[in-house]
């Protein structure tokens, strides 16, 4: 699954550490999500979308679509 987490985070001027702190996860988890190596659970995806001011469907894109 593709995502726009890095793009949205950088747009808001947040560091990975700051986003991780606000989302309640480790910085390594944010790195893995941004790198596309880890797909977050629905609750975490919703939390990230809310923190980055996006709709979840705009933030996470199914590659098959």
């Amino acid at each position: 699954m593709k995502n726009r987490v890095r793009e949205c985070r950088q747009g808001l001027g947040l560091t990975q550490e700051q986003l991780a702190e606000q989302a309640g996860v480790s910085r390594q988890t944010i790195i893995s999500i941004e790198g596309g190596r880890y797909d977050p659970s629905l609750p975490l995806a919703l939390r990230l979308a809310r923190l980055l001011g996006q709709r979840i469907e705009d933030m996470f894109i199914d590659e098959e679509e």
Binding site: A23, G24, V25, S26, T29, S32, Y38, P40, S41, L44
Partner: protein
């Protein structure tokens, strides 16, 4: 491992108390079980290191929730546990054949076998977790 997810100061203190009591008991009374000096020392070292690791990781988990334990860590541990279980089952099934075979003549005591299972379980879990951590 999920203990870090919902760790409170009370649970942290209680777990430290239990681990501490186990460690001190082993130091005081381990010799009386006559398990062998090297084995008792190894067991005490393992328990002591485990207590220390819980103390440090637990403290970080209390002060910075999500830093030591989050859903990615849970995924890594779940996958590593599944791989470790498969390896253990394979080893146990092969060992049950080898130990019964009169041709192979493997003579392991129950203590050797129990030790092998524990060590293989820990090692396969550790190695699997390290590999998965690199991949996700």
């Amino acid at each position: 491992m999920g203990i870090f997810e919902k760790l409170t100061m009370r649970r942290y203190a209680a777990t430290n108390l239990i681990l501490g009591a186990m460690f001190i008991n082993l130091l005081l009374f381990g010799g009386r079980l006559d398990m062998g000096e090297a084995f008792t020392a190894g067991l005490a070292t393992g328990l002591g290191v485990g207590w220390l690791a819980f103390g440090i990781i637990g403290w970080i988990a209390l002060k910075r929730p999500g830093r030591t334990w989050d859903e990615r860590t849970a995924t890594i541990n779940a996958k590593a546990a599944a791989i470790s279980f498969c390896i253990l089952m394979l080893a146990a099934s092969l060992m049950s054949i080898a130990l019964r075979s009169k041709t192979l003549g493997v003579e392991w005591s129950a203590a050797d076998l129990a030790g092998m299972i524990v060590n293989l379980g820990l090692a396969s879990f550790g190695v699997s977790a390290l590999i998965i951590r690199k991949r996700i």
